[in-house]
């Protein structure tokens, strides 16, 4: 392992904490990230010569914080930098003694709440969170989202500028809007996971790397906010979902339905972690979804699935987050618990939902119910319609195969 590799590994491990600690001093995540990068450059220059210090993380943090305080002290430069991003100067900088672990946790929480701030567009929140909290490079984010690197870089720049312009304070929200702000954080992590779990476009059905990045963020958040049941709910949900990733696609990348997945290959450790996290979860939407995922994980064979319980959990979920997509999932669970004839009216009722007009899973589910009801002609038409709606090549092939079989 080269010295540079070692330095970069240390930096990746520490970068979120360094950025968070510096942001507390300079009150701007964009400037904080630049300073953290400067500290990395300094390390790459010095360590190969002088050797890696005993506590490399502390060295990087101290170096970055010194630079931050310098920057704050050299007010002219600082004011100019702030003017560039349209901010005014706060008063004296806070001290930069080595923080105790609780302070570091607070800094990290401030960082994640800031990068998930509702003032930002969803794309900006996702990119900034992966960059600052997840330690991904712009190139890695672009690759994960099948986007062009300059576009992602632009997203991140714009997000930093928006935060600065809006004067978003670098803090953990307390009081009235705390719940809404936490929801935004959970949603960002969930969206990152989902993009990896069922890629909306492109040729791959799953991009596991993105799932792992999201899962790590969820685990980190659970460590930082152990008293929040919904945070554990999200972590549990993602652990359970991730346990199945390896079995969701076949040898040629084609999707494998839940019923056909090889359960022997579900990752038992992730299921156990999910179950542990579920024990700390609550009654919110992520917790209920985690309970559903936990039901699937608990079934050793598909035939053992506790569909009545899953249908009941979906009924609860519909009340928490009334949405046609959740209603559609409930219909699937009802069809398994009570039979396709009980579910068809529920699905037909959704046919008029504008939100589902181009949602390929609606005709896909309807096709499945019609097939089970012995109405192959209608089923085939539904599968073909579903195939025409999906943007994922692998999904489309599966649906066309199902149509051709009838």
């Amino acid at each position: 392992m080269s010295a540079a590799q070692a330095v970069e590994a240390v930096f990746r491990i520490e970068s979120a904490r360094i950025i968070a600690g510096v942001a507390r001093i300079v009150r701007d995540v964009g400037i904080a990230e630049e300073i953290a990068q400067d500290a990395l450059v300094a390390a790459l220059e010095q360590w190969p010569e002088s050797g890696v210090p005993d506590r490399p993380g502390a060295w990087l943090t101290a170096t970055a914080k010194h630079r931050a305080i310098d920057l704050v002290r050299r007010k002219e430069t600082y004011v100019r930098k702030l003017a560039e991003v349209g901010r005014t100067l706060e008063d004296a900088p806070p001290p930069a003694e080595p923080a105790d672990p609780d302070d570091i946790d607070d800094d990290l929480l401030r960082l994640i709440f800031t990068s998930c701030h509702p003032v930002l567009a969803t794309e900006g929140r996702i990119a900034l969170t992966l960059r600052l909290m997840g330690g991904l490079t712009t190139q890695e984010i672009a690759r994960a989202f099948l986007a062009a690197e300059p576009a992602v870089a632009q997203r991140i720049v714009r997000a930093k500028r928006t935060l600065a312009k809006a004067g978003v304070p670098f803090e953990v929200p307390y009081g009235a809007d705390r719940d809404a702000r936490l929801s935004s954080v959970l949603e960002v992590i969930y969206l990152i996971f989902n993009e990896g779990y069922s890629a909306t476009a492109g040729d791959d059905l799953v991009r596991p790397a993105l799932c792992e990045d999201a899962l790590r963020l969820a685990r980190v958040l659970a460590g930082l906010m152990p008293q929040e049941p919904e945070v554990h709910g999200l972590a549990a949900l993602l652990e359970f979902q991730a346990s199945r990733i390896a079995t969701r696609t076949g040898p040629d990348g084609e999707p494998v339905l839940l019923a056909d997945q090889n359960r022997a290959r579900w990752n038992r450790m992730l299921i156990a972690r999910g179950a542990r996290a579920l024990g700390h979860a609550g009654n919110g939407p992520y917790s209920v979804q985690a309970a559903i995922a936990g039901c699937h994980a608990a079934a050793v064979r598909y035939e053992d699935t506790d569909w009545p319980r899953i249908a009941a959990l979906y009924a609860r979920l519909v009340q928490l987050i009334p949405s046609p997509v959740v209603e559609l999932n409930r219909a699937v669970a009802v069809s398994m618990a009570e039979g396709p004839e009980a579910a068809l009216p529920l699905v037909d009722a959704l046919a008029r939902e504008p939100a589902l007009r181009t949602y390929h899973l609606l005709p896909s589910v309807r096709g499945d119910l019609l097939e089970r009801l012995g109405r192959p002609q209608e089923a085939r038409a539904e599968f073909e319609r579903a195939a025409s709606l999906t943007r994922n090549a692998q999904e489309r092939n599966l649906l066309l195969r199902r149509a051709a079989r009838l």
Partner: protein, 119 residues
């Protein structure tokens, strides 16, 4: 993100069940564990009972045989393990190095870092 199994090897003649753990070591280990857990890196870790409690089950020539511990023929035995998930081997090595640096200077401990083959 690859996963790594680290087998921590100790010398049971040096580190017996009576070995006193210095309070500073325990404190630092606690801080390290908190840090690696909060980083979302640690998936699972545990120490193992000493080899007198262990049994090796062998399959050879189509026959099962058992060897009860202690396993005196090997100087170093696995005394614990960790399962971590990080971006690459360099990161895994860095976390492992930090783990080892907590131990008292006179102890001999080695940690074998092995990437898990994802199926």
């Amino acid at each position: 993100m690859p996963r790594f199994l680290t087998m921590i090897r100790i010398n049971e003649q040096e580190l017996t069940t009576d070995t006193e753990f210095p309070p500073e070591f325990l404190q630092n280990m606690g801080a390290y564990m908190e840090e690696i857990n909060k980083a979302g890196v640690m998936l699972d870790t545990a120490g193992l009972l000493h080899t007198p409690e262990g049994t090796r089950v062998n399959w050879s020539g189509g026959k099962i045989s058992y060897t009860d511990g202690p396993f005196t023929e090997t100087k170093e035995v696995v005394g614990g393990y960790s399962l971590i998930q990080c971006k690459d081997k360099a990161e895994a090595i860095e976390w492992t190095k930090r783990f080892l640096e907590i131990h008292p200077a006179e102890w001999n401990v080695s940690a074998e870092v092995r990437e898990i083959e994802e199926m």
